[in-house]
Subunit: 402 residues, 2 copies
């Protein structure tokens, strides 16, 4: 009998309990032993809840119970969650989490602590919700030198952008609709400003490099400046606009990571990833491209990923189940100002000649929209920024082109 404790009885926490108990036949079969939830830690009471009797307000009940071998940390944040995770690992209890903020910040340290205590720190649910992505990176793509990761990692922004594309709607009204439908939070900043995607690409980049990537140093740009007119131009160019998180392994050992709205060709596999779905495109030096696609969020998909980690731990009680190389050493991040790409530029029609003169050799995007749209040749970000600064207000928006 395997006893699990769940820290936090919110959306994901209640999903974890539901997956373990509703799919108990599958879960116990794959674990090799019967598995049940023994404790649910939460500050609140849940009168009438079918698992009311499992609720405790006291973390000590869990950490001091030798029968609990696996703990799910699904409370979020980097305060109590960090303290509780450390306490569990120090007692040799494996911890499975969906908490991307904590993983991005303390992943390397917590993995080391788990190894020292012959248990595991697992975080499949921290990236891509229910899509298996951490485990494929750690256990399946093992012979590969991973050259590049390009991904749509945030369902809220992808829903908004898909909707803007399909309906020709503007950002503000689409955000309001998304909030009304529960696809965006009342305070949407973490999603729409790209911070959520940034934490996730930091985690994937750390696994790609085997060393620590500091999420706070990754260049991050959100989707709040994207307009219906930008989408009209993207469509005219047979492209679309997605919030793309990328990480590229450079020859000198550094990594080029960034999160930014990007115009991508309709032929790109990520262009077909719409609505709340996520997609992660990984390029290995032997394998070429492989893509993982599915719902990147939601109660049950995320809970399912947490429970897949719990089952993995159940098969490895008393030893580390994860072969995860993520050292504390910091990765050098490449300066994006020095990297080269093309830019889509939108300006008022009377600035057309000035734009063409500033960025010679580019392509005018023919479109019925009021503005003038132009795609520059490939140039350094630094060079683009200098020229754009000289043009001042004349540039209404600029979007990187993949």
């Amino acid at each position: 009998m395997i006893n699990v404790a769940v820290l936090g009885y919110g959306t994901v926490g209640s999903g974890v309990v539901e997956v373990i108990e509703s799919n108990n036949a599958e879960v116990s079969l794959k674990s090799g032993e019967e598995m049940h939830v023994k404790y649910i830690l939460d500050l609140r009471d849940f009168p009438g809840d079918p698992y009311e009797s499992l609720v405790t307000h006291n973390f000590d009940d869990i950490v001091n119970d030798p029968e609990v071998s696996i703990v799910c940390e699904v409370m979020g944040g980097i305060g109590a969650a960090y303290k509780f995770t450390k306490a569990c690992l120090e007692k040799g209890k494996s911890v499975c989490t969906s908490n991307k903020e904590l993983v991005a910040k303390y992943g390397a340290e917590l993995l080391e602590l788990a190894r020292e205590n012959h248990c595991s720190y697992m975080f499949e649910a921290s990236v891509g919700g229910g899509i298996p992505i951490i485990r494929p990176l750690n256990k399946a793509l093992t012979p590969e030198h991973i050259e590049n990761i390009s991904a749509i990692l945030n369902g809220t922004t992808n829903y908004i952008l898909s909707k803007m594309e399909k309906e020709g709607a503007d950002y503000g009204e689409t955000l309001k609709q998304a909030q009304a439908l529960g696809y965006a939070e009342r305070n949407p900043e973490a999603d729409v400003e790209g911070h959520d995607s940034c934490r996730k690409i930091a985690i994937l980049s750390s696994l790609m490099a085997g060393k620590n990537v500091d999420s706070e140093k990754i260049y991050t740009e959100g989707i709040t400046q994207i307009t219906a007119t930008d989408f009209a131009f993207a469509k005219a160019a047979n492209m679309t606009i997605k919030l793309i998180a990328t990480s590229k392994s450079l020859a000198d050992g550094s990594i080029l990571a960034m999160v930014a709205p990007t115009m991508i060709s309709k032929e790109n596999a990520l262009a077909a990833v719409n609505d709340v779905f996520n997609g992660v495109l990984i390029t290995g030096n032997m394998l070429g491209d492989v893509m993982f696609y599915g719902k990147g969020a939601g109660k049950l998909p995320t809970a399912s990923a947490v429970v897949s980690d719990v089952i993995d731990c159940a098969r490895h009680v008393g030893r580390s189940s994860i072969v995860c190389i993520w050292e504390k050493e910091e990765v050098v991040l490449a300066d994006i100002a020095e990297t080269e790409k093309a830019f889509f530029v939108r300006a008022s029609k009377d600035a057309a000649e000035e734009i063409k003169a500033a960025f010679p050799g580019g392509q005018v995007v023919a479109c019925e929209a009021e503005d003038f749209g132009y795609i520059t040749t490939v140039m350094k970000e630094k060079e683009f920024d200098e020229k754009a600064a000289a043009l001042g207000d004349k540039i209404l928006n600029r979007i990187r082109v993949a």
Copy 2:
């Protein structure tokens, strides 16, 4: 030091040697020990080959060498490959294979033999080439009750169908082009008649059910009857035609498996899987849909999948690394005659009224093509077949609609 033997120095075999030796830093790091190829078994000599000195013609050199702990069977076929695989497993040597024919036929037996001898029988490369799909099913989607698998599992037929769609070309000429480019074999039967897809869906179905699915009992239909005109109608209906392998878990414990060209909506995630790519869409009861996408064949992608298994075995020498539930007990396959779906029917224009009368309530597909195109209501296959038989030659083609 981990010593590997490779049985068969053909396309995949030479790829396996290349991945282990060219990516040796990654491979050895992830294995936890330095890994090298010690033997290559082949009937031929390879004068001038960089690994010439490793070639042996004698299987006994390998099976009797206690230093060899992992063997890659990449020779194909079910004769010597079967004999050699058994001999290796009986000696406690793990076997990693890309041989879908052997896995489909003897998977359950060889897995049992591996368990008895505390080693592993691994077959990530047998389905989907380089795409991680066996490992996600066995190790990541563990809490899920898998409800359905729909997949494009054969790169050759997908290349042909994609090309027919894009260029409006007919089957015969497209096959010839594919053969000239090396995307189809001179004898293409195993691919174009669906046998290759059938073996692969049999393997996935066996893992889904935990019991054995006999590939010879799966209804299988190839792509040789699909015409340019069918694609014109598909396009008019905002659909496309793909060779889809499906497996559905029914409430009574039986499985509905089949391989057939199918008209699918352009909105279906599999519709975006083009050219030689494969895509596997899995539906779990908690997770919803998740899709795995990548190159389903080719020397290095397939070899990379074999080596990912080799690394997994290297981490588990002396014990089974795979938790794979695939018992010998036979799964009951549902009778497809009793299943319900809609059908696309193509007929000459003068048969239009007869078709509409035979299948009332369906939809005419408006299209500029010479023929008459019609999509029936959802009905049992049996019922459709009876009505179609009564219409005789008037029906020029019929394609299932998803």
